[in-house]
Amino acid sequence: MTDTLNEPMVRIEGLRKSFGSHEVLRNIDLTVMPGQVVTIIGASGSGKSTLLRCINLLETPDAGHVWFHGKDLAAEHVDVNRLRESIGMVFQGFNLFNNMNVLDNCTLAPVTLKKMNKQEAERTALAHLESVGMGEFAHAHVSTLSGGQKQRVAIARALCMNPDLMLFDEPTSALDPEIVGEVLEVMRALAREGMTMVVVTHEMAFAKSVSDEVVFMDEGIIAEKGSPQKIFTAPEHARTREFLARYLDD
């Protein structure tokens, strides 16, 4: 990962995706450099989540290419399981494994896939749980946690695989307003540590302060992208202005 500092980590070219007759993504081009934090903003239904899910192939693109570390994910027979090990993902609905406790959630993938022994995996997991402030809940059952706690565990679970890239799919949208902050704080710390991140979010303040690049999506295309200063202070597109006006009113 160090030898490719000047190479893009993710390069997307001509990406298209339809669900039935509804075209969700129309010709998307995007690059993410190592260490970069890219936030994707836009109205609901503009294709943000689908774009994110195409990066780790939870959705299969109809056309176009997604290169991750120079490997084309859209090629047939590509070992997506191996590639996904280095792409962590955090979901809107947390999706913690309900049949396990917090620690087992974090150790399942390292033990299964990296053939790590249980003690070592638990040590790593505890360190990550500490870093998101969930260390004392290691043996709690998932169903006893609050939304914010679940999401922090979900982040720790993804970090346990030591990923190169983290995808966040509206990580705070299912949370009560008063606990959004605790999750955003964890994400901020992660960004400071230099993690490469692609974040789909409606938290404009977060996008403004943390991202290196902001992407505004509208009806399946990238309408505008640039530095947070440019997007939030001097947007070029009418649609961007319209969208931001609605959010900045609140």
Binding site: E85, A109, R157
Partner: protein
């Protein structure tokens, strides 16, 4: 179980120990039952025969209770809305007295039930097991057939239990195999051979389920039993060899296993599909393969949803194994038909079978409920009763408070 037991016991205790407005009506029903029993013929073993005057007194006490109830009803009809305030029956001391008297009525009826029903059964049993030919009296006749056909009924019941239990267990493991074939989907890392096998597996499971669930088990039993006999005969085996290798019991067990597999597969599939898709996505996003995600995350959750349906399958198999009697499997139904043929009493023999099947299914349901609670699933709820009477009781209590 514990969550329901406490309020239910409290309700029962309240019904017995508290004054409530149903004491007259409820106990009248009991009193009428007692009077009916008292006027029915005395069985051989009746002990009240030796205390005839006591029974006369008991009868008129019950009669008196009914009269009081009728008086209360007339009072209610005349006073209507003013009943709660004006009628003597709603005064607290009267209500207490009525409640205490009602205990006597229940006790009298209980004595009569023992004297007529329990002793009646005992007398009929004594007659049935001692006489040489089948008595004409229906109850005695049934008990006579039960006693003289006991070896057949016991063999039949044991065979039915074996078929149902073994069949369900075998079917469960086959259904596990089949459901994994059924839910396979093409995944990107798969090579062409794996893709081909997955498609074939899924299709096989689908066709299997359609064919087996779309044909009666009785027909399947016939095809399997006679089909294999035909194959064995074609290979040059003699009748005795065939019977040793392929008995009606073996054929029945194979049939019930094959049949139940299809249903259990659908139950398991339903359980697996009711697990949130996000669980799979999270597992896959960490790099787990389709199989690993299924085995470690989805299946352990899905089987919990499937436990009630899987338990139900055992109960269904207890009942449905009866159709295997057509190929000569000596189960409870076959025993019933045999006994019915000996005495030419089809109705009575089938009533014995009905009671036996009911006891078997109720015991199975009870055991499965205990088991599934231990496994942490929901209760089986197969022939379970409704627990939703709580509100009605609460409403009654509230109405009582207002009336008093």
């Amino acid at each position: 179980m514990d969550a329901h037991a406490i309020p239910r016991r409290n309700r029962l205790v309240a019904f017995v120990l508290d004054d409530h407005r149903y004491v007259l009506l409820g106990t009248s029903v009991v009193a009428c039952l007692g009077m009916l029993l008292s006027s029915s013929p005395r069985p051989w073993f009746s002990f009240m025969y030796y205390a005839y005057p006591v029974e006369v007194v008991m009868y008129y006490l019950l009669f008196a209770w009914v009269c009081v109830s009728v008086a209360a009803l007339i009072s209610k009809a005349m006073l209507r809305e003013r009943y709660a305030q004006a009628s003597p029956f709603t005064r607290p001391p009267v209500k207490s007295a009525l409640r205490c008297t009602s205990y006597l009525m229940w006790a009298i009826t209980a004595v009569l039930i023992v004297d007529r029903v329990v002793m009646g059964l005992a007398s009929a049993w004594a007659v049935a097991t001692s006489v040489q030919s089948r008595p004409e009296d229906a109850l005695q006749s049934i008990l006579y057939m039960l006693w003289h056909g006991r070896d057949m009924f016991i063999t039949g019941i044991m065979t039915t239990i074996e078929l149902a239990v073994l069949g369900t267990v075998i079917a469960f493991f086959l259904a596990l195999l089949l459901v994994f074939c059924r839910i396979q989907t093409i995944d990107r890392p798969d090579n062409d051979l794996v893709r081909f096998l997955k498609v074939v597996g899924a299709w096989f499971a689908k066709v299997y389920s359609t064919v087996i669930r779309g044909t009666p088990m009785m027909v399947q039993a016939g095809i399997i039993y006679y089909g294999v006999i035909g194959i064995l005969r074609g290979s040059g085996m003699g009748t005795t060899e065939i019977n040793a290798l392929w008995s009606a019991f073996t054929a029945g067990l194979v049939t019930i296993s094959i049949n139940s597999t299809a249903y259990m597969m659908e139950v398991l599939r339903g359980g697996i599909e009711s697990v949130d898709i996000g669980q799979t996505e999270a597992a896959r996003s960490l790099g787990l393969s389709q199989w690993q995600a299924m085995r470690k995350v989805v299946f352990p959750q899905g089987i919990k949803f499937a436990i009630p349906g899987l338990s139900n399958e055992l109960v269904i198999n207890i009942k449905d194994s009866s159709v295997l009697s057509v190929i000569g499997t000596f189960d409870l139904m076959f025993a019933t038909n045999t006994v019915a043929g000996i005495y030419w009493q089809q109705l009575q023999a089938n009533m014995i079978a009905a009671v036996a099947y009911l006891i078997l299914t109720m015991v199975a349901t009870w055991l499965l409920n205990k088991l599934s609670r231990r496994l942490g699933g929901r209760g089986a709820g197969v022939t379970g009763m409704s627990d939703s009477t709580v509100n009605a009781e609460a409403a009654t209590a509230a109405a009582d408070q207002m009336g008093a």
